[in-house]
Subunit: 429 residues, 2 copies
């Protein structure tokens, strides 16, 4: 048995504690697999935090200065699980410069400064892994980097935010309204007290930036992801979609077309027999369409202390293997392509529109004319009386481009007195 | 750019042709990823086969003798896609002895002689990979070996045979009977003219042997897998299960309990809201329950030329990486534990029983007594009139051991004049 590999933890919150648990619970298997013990020697905590019990239980030393970890020659790998951009970014950079390998779960940081950190790691001939940053316990990054290396990926569609998927599941299966669903998610600890990042799609967008890099080798920035959340989504629309054979899901997508990609987050009508439609509650799933395999999907918990920590420990074991073999310094994803974005006129999809219109003859004709002028066809129409004066009309269009859709929205605003309650993309041919 | 890595193919059938396609179609990405071209230089075919057009199209040499491939110093890796045990086993052994790395999709061979071949590869310091042998296009073996290395797996449950899943889907969703479903699967090319290996669960059992090794490090033999197929499964049972909230699936399982494992294949009632219940048609999925991640599932095509070939090419790329890094000779799965089988009295599950009994008073009491004597409880009961004289009774029991179930079967046979039409395990707590 070789001497133990020692790890320094930055942050001892939900995920950090999970790392201690997984390393302790699966100690024997881990040791057998990598041929040596793997232990956390030190953890950086705030002077104000009381983590003495944890430290005693897992036999580690609490420190308050980064240097206590990165200047310790016994420590080979640093795990960053503090969250937020700073000081995490500085700490990771310092650790790499001090010759440590780094594992992190910090999606915000990776989505915004991933290339910079990956380049620094490469320069320093150190490894930087972050499997846990996308879909927590689902090993999707490693699968794309290794198993799908032989494949040509066309689309990655993900339910990558557990909070909103929990809320949508309640809205679909229990006809809960948005506010009640959010409240319940908060009570269960899935949603934070400020749910902005989740419900506005920002968290999912971080993950699509990282997935775009792995799937297509392209580096995009957050402002290149078109983001729409589910804030205020109407229960009526969810029910209407259900009646038309669709389940509303918050889908993060990154799609390649003629060598360019489009990354997006938004509520989407998913056909009820599509594998993504049956992903319930807080679970996540990533669906991949590729030329070789065809359709594959990877399902599991997108968050949580132990699942996320398991991905982190798998990263740690990969690094230990590479240290032992002397093959360190390769990028987590080596695949690189020049970034090309698909222009809006080439991004096509079916659309769901929900409208309120005066309940008078000729109104629907007006909508049909606007659609026809834009060259857009209608696939399904449902009209129902909303009040004495108003009718609620829900339509699903044939495929059209984003540019056409913008024109239609503009025409509805300018030429009619309809209220366009919502628009969502619809998955399918 | 380094010089090309050359591959020798043994067999040029469905999967062999797929390998040529994937290597050609994804040439650029593959080359970028491994830093050199990867090409098939020679393919072994029978003298009677006419594969000249393929050879011309993909610029390779057809040969009729194994030595033409394994004595060629330019060839580094041999891909075996001939199928069956012999001569595949001899050819793979010869290739390893000649210093070639080997990739194969041959589940029959691996299930029966996998350890022997893995040891030979290890001795020869060569790699032997076989991702494609389980669930075709789903990268399940690599996921277990790498990403789940940090986890402690408790159960692996798989829909790992596409033919039977196609048939069961038709039986459930279109109330097709067994023979019609089989005929349709054959017409669509999912089932072979002799469907024995599929419908009797043998193909699924091969895969459970391989999965048991990856998940638990234990080597079991085919006769240690309890195998039951779906041959002659009654449409009535499928419908009854459906009404009780279950979907019948052919499930391959390998389950760890107190350090011992039980591997099994058989039709199982899966709760309709379980992720495995929504795996339709010829698709496969492997569901893993583990201490760290919790529940995860890997879904995709279980067979087919291109999906299977994509897994093979991923294996090839892994080997090329290892050749370049000089880190060859590690086992595909390094995890090894002494094999321990769970005794039948410790294997517990709920059961579905379907019985025909005379439609007279007191009959059901008899069944209740037998169950009570065995210490087994009833959870759900459905009774319907089958004919004037007979009633059809379907029950779902509480959890009990296999030993208890055997006792109940024996008692029903000896003490009643019921006909026990079928028994199936039921998934759930
Ligand atoms: N939770 C999940 O399920 C999950 C899943 C995937 C990825 N992640 C990612 O994992 C990371 C950690 O998440 P978490 O849920 O474990 O968060 P958490 O429970 O808030 O833990 C973070 C810990 O780090 C501490 N910390 C922050 N800045 C520090 C500093 N400068 N010095 C010392 N300690 C500091 C925090 O202390 P204070 O509370 O005092 O600030 C807190 O104890 C985040 O990047 C998150 O996005 C989490
Ligand atoms: N098809 C799938 O979707 C799939 C999925 C997963 C795994 N696999 C596995 O992949 C392997 C290949 O399957 P496949 O579907 O490609 O089978 P296949 O279409 O029958 O191809 C096998 C080819 O190898 C040839 N062959 C057999 N013995 C040979 C010998 N001694 N010398 C030269 N050529 C020989 C066969 O010729 P003859 O026809 O003349 O015998 C045939 O052309 C099998 O182990 C199978 O279990 C297949």
């Amino acid at each position: 048995m070789e001497k133990p590999v020692k790890v320094g933890l930055l942050g001892l919150g939900v995920v950090g504690t999970g790392v201690l648990e997984i390393l302790a619970d699966h100690q024997e298997k881990i040791e057998k697999s990598i041929g040596c013990p793997l232990t956390v020697a030190k953890a950086l905590v705030r002077p104000t935090e009381d983590k003495e019990n944890l430290a005693k239980k897992y036999n580690l030393q609490l420190v308050h200065e980064l240097t206590d970890i990165i200047e310790d020659p016994e420590i080979d790998i640093v795990v960053e699980v503090m969250g937020r951009i700073e000081p995490a970014k500085t700490f990771i950079s310092e650790a790499l410069k001090a010759g440590k390998h780094v594992v992190t779960a910090n999606k915000d940081l990776l989505a915004q400064h991933g290339s910079e950190l990956a380049s620094l790691a490469h320069e320093q001939k150190r490894n930087l892994y972050y499997e846990a940053s996308v879909a927590g316990g689902i090993p999707i990054l490693r699968t794309i980097a290794n198993s799908l290396a032989a494949d040509d990926i066309q689309e990655v569609l993900g339910i990558v935010n557990g909070t909103t998927n929990y809320m949508l599941t309640k809205m679909v299966t229990e006809q809960m309204d948005y506010d009640t669903a959010l409240k319940q998610a908060q009570e269960l600890g899935f949603a934070e007290s400020d749910p902005t990042n989740d419900v506005d799609g920002i968290d999912a967008a971080y993950k699509m930036v990282i997935l775009s890099k792995f799937a297509f080798g392209m580096t995009i920035t957050m402002d290149q992801v078109k983001v729409k959340g589910i804030r205020g989504l109407s229960g009526k629309d969810v029910t209407a979609a259900d009646q038309l054979g669709y389940t509303v899901k918050l889908i993060g997508s990154t799609v390649k077309k003629n060598g360019s990609i489009a990354a997006e987050v938004g509520p989407v009508l998913v056909p009820s027999d599509h594998p993504l439609a049956s992903i319930h509650n807080e679970f996540n799933a990533v669906f991949v369409k590729s030329s070789g395999i065809g359709e594959s999907m990877y399902y599991g918990p997108g968050a949580g202390s132990r699942p996320t920590a398991t991905s982190i420990v798998a990263d740690l074991m990969t690094i230990v293997n590479k240290i032992q073999l002397g093959t360190i310094g390769h990028r987590f994803s080596e695949y690189t392509q020049p970034t090309q974005l698909t222009p809006p006129e080439e991004i096509v999809s079916k659309y769901f529109l929900s409208l309120k219109m005066p309940d008078e003859t000729g109104q629907f004709l007006q909508l049909a004319e606007i659609m026809a002028n834009a060259g857009a066809g209608l696939e399904q129409v449902v009209q129902e009386k909303a009040t004495v004066e108003n009718a609620r009309v829900v339509v699903i269009t044939h495929k059209m481009s984003e540019t056409t859709m913008s024109q239609i929205q503009k025409d509805i605003a300018e030429k009619t007195n309809f209220e366009l309650l919502s628009t969502m993309k619809v998955m399918g041919e």
